[in-house]
């Protein structure tokens, strides 16, 4: 059997990778993907905890997270398109009209 902590550590590492991606990637789409990675990491924790507590709510929660992720993806990609349309770039460093 695999200890619960292993799953959680894996989850933490994946979450960290996601955050790092958000911080370091320049392409808006990749940044958005990093968010998806973070959500996936969270989902792993949910499933692992669900197994630990023998509580299906955890898995149900994952279901909802996925729905939300899908909705976010739709909106997010639309926003990215809108930004691309006005700014002609996907580099996040160049999207800085608003500052100070």
């Amino acid at each position: 059997m695999v200890p619960l902590s292993y799953y959680l550590v894996l989850s933490a590492v994946l979450f960290g990778c996601g955050v790092t991606g958000f911080l370091l990637k320049r392409n808006i789409i990749t940044i958005f993907m990093s968010i998806e990675l973070m959500l996936n990491a969270v989902n792993l924790s949910f499933v692992a905890f669900a197994a630990e507590w023998q509580e299906l709510r955890g898995q149900v929660f994952v279901f909802f997270v996925m729905v939300v992720a899908a909705a976010e993806a739709a909106v997010g990609l639309a926003i990215i398109i809108a930004v691309y349309r006005t700014r002609e770039t996907l580099n996040v460093d160049r999207v800085n009209l608003l500052k100070l």
């Binding site: 059997m1 695999v2 200890p3 902590s5 292993y6």
Partner: protein, 173 residues
């Protein structure tokens, strides 16, 4: 032992995929590595007994959502990432913070669940059981998600559509 070995293999794939996502210069590369991560995660879910979750992970996540990503990448003809340096804060402040964060969470988790003390078994999350739960206890959230999706569709329509220009008379061009 077998469980552990499978876990470790897929965990390695996960982490490798995640790192590859970071390393890849082209968004397509990142997208593909994300799909790898998702698939590997589905395996981990199965390992934990969450069949239904594993299934929709592949179908919805890796299948639908990621296809959308790839589609947009193609649509916008996104090229290789520029190596612009717009933010020192992200590297100087952000990355160490992330490291600290991960270490802190890991430390907490390991402190809370020593590897020896708690090994999880499985929780059989069959579609039927999940379905029962969704349509009884979670009926309201389930129904509310419809609004969420509606909003998402509306938003996508509004934002992705061509700007809606009218001249001064209010007549559409």
């Amino acid at each position: 032992m077998l469980h552990l070995a499978i876990f470790l293999i897929f965990a390695a794939v996960c982490v490798g995929g995640a790192l590859n996502l970071l390393i890849q210069k082209h968004p397509i590369g990142s997208a593909l590595s994300l799909i790898v991560v998702m698939a590997a995660l589905a395996a981990e879910y199965l390992l934990l007994g969450a069949e239904f979750v594993a299934a929709i992970q592949i179908i919805v996540y890796a299948g639908a959502i990621m296809v959308l990503f790839v589609f947009v990448i193609m649509l916008l003809n996104a090229g290789e990432e520029e190596r612009s340096d717009g933010s020192r804060v992200a590297t100087v402040v952000g990355v160490p913070s992330v490291l600290a964060l991960v270490l802190l969470i890991t430390w907490t988790v390991l402190r809370h669940y020593t590897p020896a003390s708690a090994s999880v078994g499985t929780l059989h999350g069959a579609p039927k059981v999940i379905g029962m739960l969704l349509f009884q206890d979670f009926l309201l959230p389930f129904e509310i998600t419809s609004i969420l999706i509606l909003i998402a569709i509306m938003g996508a329509v509004v934002l992705a559509s061509k700007p809606h220009t009218r001249n001064a008379n209010g007549r559409e061009n």
